[in-house]
Amino acid sequence: MMNEETKPGMNADEFEKRLQRQPLRQAPCEWRSEILAAARDAQASCHPSPATRHGWLATFNRQLSILLWPHPKAWAGLAAVWVFVFAVNFSLRDTTPRLAEKSAPPSPEVMVELKKQQRMFAELVGSYETPDADRRKVFSPRPRSERVEIVTV
């Protein structure tokens, strides 16, 4: 099979050179300014210059001055009133330690209720000593000898 480069009338070098000689299109001239402007904007947004930062501060100061300038004495008086109010509030503040109020003794009803709950809890737990009347009713299997003693007592 014949190689493409060896075919007559189609020398590889000649063909390549002919291709190389073809001039390429030029980038539109207006792109330069547009692209460079976009690049400058991108750089400015990424790295704000000190002048830009000072500009922001200066603008803020100027706006503040414009806002306060018409009645500087009125603003100063208002500030003085606020300072006075804070001073009075601070001086009158109650600094004595607060004592815990003594609680009143519980009423008899409450005491009865508490006793009842205590008894109920003890019954549930099993350690509460029942009154004598109740104790006789409790069945407890014991040896015969001890049972006799209880009866005699």
Partner: protein, 175 residues
């Protein structure tokens, strides 16, 4: 606009924008895409002033940036605009218009033949023929082995030769 290392974005544009434009136009076959990509590259350079620090071959580095940006664009777009791309490949020429009708015909045919090449072959052919890079430089720019760059060039050139042979021989006879 001063950049670290004494570089100026204007100087970079004036020195490298034209070859980048031609490469991107031949690769994307779309003028709007070419403009977007070119702007993307210079915006990136402006945002990261240290990007070219320590780079000896600015042109090769910028072509690498351009190629990566173009590949990213193609991936983002996917097959959505495949029809548009194919249509554009047939009509958009990366070559300057010629006054001689035969030469103009040859350029048009060459543009169409280039458009028919796979993107990876087209990129290598363009860098070899119209940027004048060596296979080592092309390999570094496109992040492929030099042998791959050489074989892609050979395949691409063979396809162009096959496609343009009748016209080329006719023009040779006329000369």
């Amino acid at each position: 606009m001063k950049m670290p290392g004494g570089r100026k974005i204007e100087r970079l544009y004036d020195e490298h924008a034209q070859p980048l434009f031609a490469f991107l136009l031949n690769f994307t076959r779309d003028e709007a895409d070419t403009r977007d990509l070119l702007q993307e590259i210079f915006v990136k350079l402006a945002r990261t002033p240290g990007l070219l620090d320590g780079i000896r071959e600015e042109r090769a580095f910028l072509i690498r940036l351009a190629h990566n940006a173009a590949i990213d664009l193609m991936r983002r777009r996917g097959t959505r605009d495949k029809t548009k791309e194919n249509f554009a490949a047939e009509i958009l020429s990366p070559f300057a218009p010629a006054s001689d009708p035969d030469e103009q015909t040859f350029r048009e045919e060459l543009a169409v033949a280039l458009g028919e090449l796979p993107e990876e072959q087209r990129a290598v052919v363009h860098l070899k023929l119209w940027v004048g890079q060596t296979f080592e430089e092309i390999a570094a720019a496109l992040e492929i082995p030099p042998n791959t760059a050489a074989s892609r060039y050979r395949y691409g050139l063979d396809k162009l030769r096959g496609r343009l042979r009748p016209l080329y021989e006719e023009m040779k006879k006329a000369e």
